[in-house]
């Protein structure tokens, strides 16, 4: 195993028991290696186990079989080295923007030493002037930027993003995508993004992992060999997109709107 593998997932299974006592195979035999500083997207229809996989990596849940290791260390629980951004509504409503971002520092007991970082991250996400606003006073896009900053302030070696832009309109979404690329380049954080939007995956990632449901497994991994910034209407972009839609069995029918942009 080469040294620049940050995250290594081997033979991971996870089965849930649903309300009627039936077994739901959320993940079966997942194998995936992620290199340091890589931007990987996971795409697939809803219910194919994307969130389950991300939660296992975060240490919020444990697999029945297989192993997950970060930097060679098996994952046994949550760790600030693996940042996690939830889909929406995950900011603490009782804290201001500033305090939400600082909460990672407070939780680790390093607030006093690293206080200065808060202002830096507020600037990085372009939210100067909103330090003292409460979550319900800012837009959904701003809130997601705060959630990203809050995870990044811990300087994680990997950032896990579970459809962080799922609830946003396409303008705001494009905006955050650029912000994310910028942060990725600046911090050299390994990014693992769950999305159901093909264009987003192509626009951002080095590799795209395609998953299929019941049981949730990886059906294919595609390399994206395009320079940044990528042109969403360029020929390479469009041909890759057609490819992926085909793999998702969506090419023949009119493409479903949820997979676009």
């Amino acid at each position: 195993m080469s040294k620049d593998i940050v995250l290594s997932i081997k033979g991971v299974d996870r089965t849930y028991v649903d309300e009627d006592g039936g077994a739901v195979e959320a993940l079966r035999g997942i194998n995936l290696d992620i290199k340091r500083g890589e931007f990987v997207s996971i795409i697939g229809s809803s219910g194919c186990g994307k969130t389950t996989l991300l939660r296992l990596i975060a240490g919020l849940d444990a697999p029945e079989a297989g192993s997950i290791a970060l930097e060679g260390e098996p994952i046994t629980g949550t760790d600030p080295h693996r940042g996690y951004v939830f889909q929406q509504g995950s900011l603490f409503p009782w804290l201001t923007v500033e305090k939400n971002i600082a909460s990672g520092l407070v939780a680790r007991g390093v607030y006093r030493e690293q206080k200065a970082d808060v202002a830096r991250y507020i600037e990085l996400i372009g939210l100067q002037g909103f330090e003292k606003a409460y979550p319900h006073q800012i837009s959904g896009g701003m809130a997601q930027r705060v959630a990203i900053a809050r995870a990044l302030i811990n300087r994680p070696s990997a950032l896990l993003l579970d459809e962080p832009m799922g609830a946003l309109d396409s303008f705001t979404r494009a905006d955050i995508q650029d912000k994310l690329l910028e942060l990725w380049r600046k911090n050299a954080t390994t990014m693992l993004l769950v999305t159901h939007v093909v264009d987003e995956a192509i626009y951002l990632s080095d590799r795209i992992v395609i998953m299929t449901p019941r049981p949730g497994k990886i059906s294919e991994i595609l390399d994206v060999k395009m320079e940044h910034p990528r042109h969403r209407g360029g020929p390479a972009f469009l041909s890759l997109r057609r490819d992926i839609l085909e793999k998702l069995n969506l090419a023949s029918a009119a493409p479903q709107p949820e997979y676009i942009i």
Binding site: L60, F86, F92, P93, G104, V106, A107, R108, G126, G129
Partner: protein, 354 residues
């Protein structure tokens, strides 16, 4: 990038202020007129008191109070009315410069006017004609006589009540929050303590009075204990509920950020529970007033409840009314203070919930 700058322009203050926007504007002259109207009722009450002939045979006593060697109860009543007039003029001036406060003030004008007229009517029926059943319904001047007669004594009893309330209520709330957190956090504690809380919680605290009086060395401690129990129940109940209803995602976020248990309890669960804790505290507040007065009436050496009881024995109903007025003022002030504290602590909710 343009989206960022757009968002930045919509600054926070208007969002923060949204609840206070005014519907209609009132001209300065109009406001002045309404201010006068709000005190006009009290002015009328003064005139009635001075000019209406004393028809019924009522002794109008006089007392030596401070600078006044011979202050009649009618004069004292007029001074109180004058004080109210000054108070409302003060509020009018204070409200003049703020649109939202102006509106608040204007809304209350008819009510204040009516209160003034009601006082005048009461004065006529209660004192001038004395056509209300006596001694149960004395006129307003007679009630004020209690303060001239034994103001310091009333004050002493007020302090007694205040101290008893403060001790019982604060300990009860602290105790309630503490047990609420334990019940909400630890399933074991929930299992064993919650049913006890539910059963004992429905019993009015004063029912424990006989035990309290024998268990505690002083009546003060016994009554404080009763107030503690009555405040404890709603606070513990709602604190536990608030802790338990914390969305899982908040805990998960905190854990991925590196939080350990103390952070999860004190910086996630408790902040989330705060709105409910405050609901519990205001319920406890109302219970505590009731328990306070009832236990004072049942065996305390002092307090407003005691004063009411002692006055009733002598059929001095005007003193009963005096104590009730003091209670109304005192309890309203306490409620107001609690409300302000709550608004401050829960300022993050402003605009979030109606």
């Amino acid at each position: 990038m343009n989206i960022f700058s757009l968002e930045k322009r919509s600054a926070i203050p208007p969002l923060l202020k949204q609840g206070r926007a005014s519907k209609r504007r009132v001209s300065n002259a109009g406001f002045l007129l309404l201010s006068l109207l709000s005190v006009a009722g009290f002015v009328a009450a003064i005139f009635i008191n001075r000019l209406f002939p004393q028809i019924a045979e009522v002794k109008i006593s006089a007392y030596a109070i401070g600078a006044f060697p011979d202050l009649s109860i009618n004069q004292a009543y007029q001074i109180v009315l004058g004080g109210l007039i000054l108070l409302y003029i003060g509020i009018a001036v204070f409200s003049f410069f703020d649109e939202a406060r102006r509106e608040q003030f204007i809304k209350r004008v008819p009510f204040r006017f009516a209160i003034g007229l009601a006082l005048a009517l009461w004065d006529v029926l209660g004192t001038k004609l004395q056509s209300l059943p006596q001694p149960f319904f004395p006129g307003p001047a007679k009630i004020i006589e209690s303060f001239l007669m034994e103001g310091p004594y009333i004050w002493q009893n007020t302090l007694y009540s205040l101290r008893l309330f403060a001790v019982g209520f604060l300990v009860g709330v602290a105790f309630g929050v503490g047990t609420g957190i334990l019940i909400g956090w630890f399933p074991k504690v929930y299992y064993w303590v919650y049913p006890v809380l539910k059963i004992t919680g429905v019993i009015p605290a004063v029912a424990w009075m006989p035990f309290a009086l024998t268990l505690f060395p002083t009546p003060f401690l016994a009554a404080a204990f009763l107030i503690v129990i009555c405040a404890w129940f709603p606070v513990a109940f709602l604190t536990a509920q608030g802790i338990q209803s914390t969305p899982k995602v908040h805990f998960e976020v905190a854990r991925t950020l590196g939080a350990k248990t103390p952070y999860l309890v004190f910086r996630v669960a408790i902040p989330h529970a705060l709105p409910q804790i405050f609901t519990g505290i205001s319920t406890a507040n109302a219970y505590a007033f009731t328990t306070l007065v009832m236990s004072e009436m049942m065996g305390q050496p002092g307090g407003l409840g005691y004063y009411i009881n002692a006055s009733k024995v002598w059929s001095a109903y005007y003193k009963v009314f005096a104590a009730i007025i003091v209670m109304a003022i005192l309890f309203s002030l306490i409620m107001k203070g609690m409300g302000m504290l709550q608004n401050h602590v829960l300022r993050w909710q402003r605009g979030l919930v109606k």
